[in-house]
Each structure stands twice: as structure tokens, then as C-alpha cells.
């Protein structure tokens, strides 16, 4: 009885995992926006490719009932951190506000855009927390999973990030 039940559970899990292309279609815009915010347009392309190739490799082992959105953003967050580290090794500025939507001149004067540029200048963890919260709309629990910290630490990063933004933003 117990065996039969566990087998039917695993069968359900396997059959519920969507074909990868559907998973890619469903999350590509979100991952792209996250990466543009996190590393800028220039590096978003490489990070995007690496994120989804890593996801493809691991895909058959993912539990179908897991939060696929949080899962792929976890990978994207790691790839963004890798890109930051690589950039730091190349001794270039860690956060280049111009790289974040630099070509979007039409909205350059918008206060909201300046706000996101300020997000780009936050320390990596705070930037990720803010981006995952307000761009990807992830709950604290999933932000913690994505960043790889406790829920409490995720809350703190978010709060510290908001505090810094409040200091730099005019009313």
C-alpha cells in the first residue's frame, strides 16, 4: 500500500514537469528583466544563456511540485554573482549605472528609472533582494532560497536596501 502510494506520487511528479520549452517561454521575460537589472544589458545575454543551460542540465531532477520560478531565479542570481566577481577580477567598476538600461534614453529622466539605477548601485545581496522582491514579486521565503540565506537575513537585506534607497532618493 505504502509502496504503491509512493510510486503513484513520483509518477505524478514526473508527468507534471512541463516540457522545457514551455518552462523557458514562461520564465524568459522575468529572468531577462532580472538579469538586466542585476548585471546590465551587456552581460545579461551571457548570464541568460548560462542560467537556462544550467537549468536544462538539472531539469529532469527538479521536483515538479517545486516553485520553478524561484528555482530559475536562484540560478540567475548565482550567474549574476559570478558575472560580478568576474568583473571585479577584471578591475572594472562593480556597478556601472550606465550599463543598467543605459540605452533607454527616453525614460532616463523618469524618477522611477533613477530609482532602479540606484538599485544597481546597492551591494549585491541587497540589490538581489530588492530585484527579486519588486521585479519578480517573490515572497521573502523564496528570496531567501534564491540568495541562499535565512528568511530573516533576506528580510534584513531587503530592509537595508530600502533604507539606502530612501537616503539617495529625493521625495
Amino acid at each position: 500500500m505504502a509502496r504503491a502510494r509512493s510510486r503513484s506520487v513520483s509518477t505524478t511528479a514526473i508527468s507534471a514537469l512541463p516540457p522545457f520549452q514551455r518552462f523557458l517561454d514562461a520564465h524568459r521575460d522575468l529572468v531577462w528583466r532580472f538579469l538586466v537589472r542585476a548585471v546590465g544589458h551587456t552581460e545579461a545575454e551571457d548570464c541568460f544563456q548560462e542560467t537556462f543551460i544550467a537549468a536544462l542540465r538539472a531539469y529532469p531532477r527538479v521536483r515538479a511540485d517545486s516553485n520553478l520560478r524561484a528555482w530559475v531565479l536562484t540560478i540567475a542570481h548565482r550567474k549574476a554573482l559570478d558575472a560580478h566577481r568576474a568583473r571585479a577580477r577584471r578591475a572594472l567598476p562593480v556597478a556601472d549605472p550606465a550599463a543598467v538600461d543605459g540605452r533607454q534614453s527616453a525614460s532616463a529622466g523618469m524618477p522611477d528609472e533613477e530609482l532602479w539605477q540606484a538599485v544597481g548601485e546597492l551591494p549585491a545581496r541587497q540589490r538581489s533582494a530588492i530585484t527579486l522582491r519588486y521585479l519578480a514579486d517573490l515572497p521573502h521565503r523564496d528570496i531567501a532560497v534564491a540568495i541562499g540565506c535565512s528568511e530573516e537575513a533576506a528580510r534584513r537585506s531587503l530592509h537595508e536596501g530600502l533604507k539606502k534607497l530612501r537616503e539617495v532618493m529625493p521625495a
Binding site: 514526473i14 508527468s15 514537469l17 512541463p18 516540457p19 522545457f20 520549452q21 514551455r22 523557458l24 517561454d25 514562461a26 520564465h27 524568459r28 521575460d29 522575468l30 529572468v31 531577462w32 528583466r33 538586466v36 544589458h41 545579461a44 545575454e45 541568460f48 544563456q49 537556462f52 543551460i53 536544462l56 542540465r57 531539469y59 529532469p60 520560478r69 533607454q104 523618469m110 524618477p111 522611477d112 528609472e113 530609482l115 532602479w116 538599485v119 530588492i130 519588486y134 521585479l135 530600502l162 534607497l165 530612501r166 537616503e167 532618493m169 529625493p170 521625495a171
Partner: protein
């Protein structure tokens, strides 16, 4: 104007407003792209990605549409070769879900990987090809089906066999009903020519893609006289 005590809520609202995207990430393909550039950037990056996944053999299954006189067929291949051909009415989602369940969920759309299959089908439909040469992956066919469809694959262009003859050649002379089921479960119709199997009296019999298509194919091959 430069009140430093901007409320958190104001900042949160501004962050959300700027992040808001009309093309919801839940909608497949993000076709309703309101924020053009970012969505286009994502779409282009995703297309390059799918090509790379196919080129580097990272995906277990690739698929692509193929235009035909029957409408848009759906083709799917593994590293071994063509594994599925679906008529339009089956629907892309149904085909992909079946492949995800039976082969692997690592499925991406990659037209380039099916160029050969598309070319041979196009030649066949235009009457310029009498036999398919593309590699086939038989993994969706069971042992009995393999025998039945193996016999079927040997029926030459323009020829026909009866269900009873196919069953006999497959080694189960009394299994013509089972043979009929195996033919109905053909994962690669047209390419494995199950349309060349008819009832013993010469009646058309059934066809997974509809008897009208069966008749059309047999007329194309000259096995049936063209309809008046």
C-alpha cells in the same frame, strides 16, 4: 521637495511601478509584449539559446513545425533521429506533454535540427520522393508494434497490404486486430507508411489522421485512382 524622509511605501510603489510588465511572465511566448525592447531582448536571447541547446546536443528532444498539404505537421527528433510526427489536430501541447512523459522533459524548439525531415517530407508531398532516408528513433514503439511497423515500413511506394497480411508477416497470423491497433499507434505516420495497409476486401479501413488523408496519400502514390 527634497524631503529625505521619503516613505518606504513610496519607494516600494515606485519600484513596483517601474518593474510592472504588461507581458506577464505567465503567458507563453510573451506575445502581448507591451514593453517592446526588453521583451524582444528576451525573445531573441531565448531563440539563440534554443538553437545552441540543439546544436550542442543539450536537449533530449527537439521539435519544429513543418508545412504540408494537411496543414502544419509537428515533428520531433532525438539524437538518434525522428521520433514523432503529429497531425495538426493533435496539438503542440499534447505532443510535447506526451514526449516529456515518455522520453524526457528536456525538450526545446529547434527548427534547424529537423531540416532534413522537413526537406524529405516536402519532396514526398510534391511527388519527387518515393522513400524516406532520414534516421528514425523507434523508442516509442513496443516490441509487437516494432514487428508490425517494421513490416509496414517495407511496403513500397504505390503498394498496399491487408491487415491480415501485415499480421502474418509480423509473425502473428491471427493478430490482425492487434496489428490494426499497432498501426493506429504509429508515432510517425506518413514516414512509416501505415496508410498502405487496407482491409482485406480493399476497403480503406481506419487511419489515425482520418480516412480522407489516407485516400489522399494513396492517390498521391498511385495506389488508388484519383477521385473524380
Amino acid at each position: 521637495m527634497s524631503d529625505r524622509k521619503t516613505d518606504y511605501r513610496t519607494i516600494e510603489t515606485a519600484l513596483r511601478r517601474r518593474a510592472a510588465q504588461p507581458a506577464g511572465e505567465g503567458s507563453a511566448g510573451g506575445a502581448r509584449a507591451g514593453r517592446g525592447r526588453e521583451s524582444r531582448g528576451a525573445a531573441e536571447a531565448a531563440a539563440r539559446l534554443a538553437r545552441r541547446m540543439a546544436d550542442e546536443g543539450l536537449a533530449d528532444v527537439t521539435y519544429a513545425p513543418a508545412e504540408s498539404p494537411f496543414g502544419t505537421l509537428l515533428l520531433a527528433a532525438t539524437r538518434r533521429g525522428l521520433v514523432r510526427l503529429a497531425f495538426p489536430e493533435e496539438g503542440l501541447d499534447a505532443m510535447l506533454e506526451g514526449l516529456a512523459r515518455r522520453i524526457s522533459p528536456r525538450i526545446v524548439e529547434a527548427p534547424g535540427s529537423l531540416d532534413e525531415a522537413r526537406r524529405e517530407l516536402e519532396e514526398y508531398f510534391s511527388g519527387r520522393r518515393r522513400a524516406f532516408e532520414l534516421a528514425l528513433d523507434w523508442r516509442l514503439v513496443g516490441p509487437f508494434g516494432r514487428r508490425v511497423l517494421g513490416v509496414t515500413a517495407q511496403i513500397p511506394y504505390g503498394g498496399v497490404l491487408s491487415y491480415a497480411e501485415v499480421a502474418a508477416d509480423a509473425g502473428s497470423p491471427r493478430g490482425h486486430r492487434a496489428a490494426g491497433n499497432a498501426l493506429g499507434a504509429n508515432p510517425m505516420p506518413i514516414v512509416i507508411p501505415c496508410h498502405r495497409v487496407l482491409r482485406s476486401g480493399g476497403a480503406l479501413g481506419g487511419y489515425g489522421g482520418g480516412t480522407q488523408r489516407k485516400r489522399w496519400l494513396l492517390e498521391l502514390e498511385g495506389a488508388l485512382p484519383p477521385a473524380p
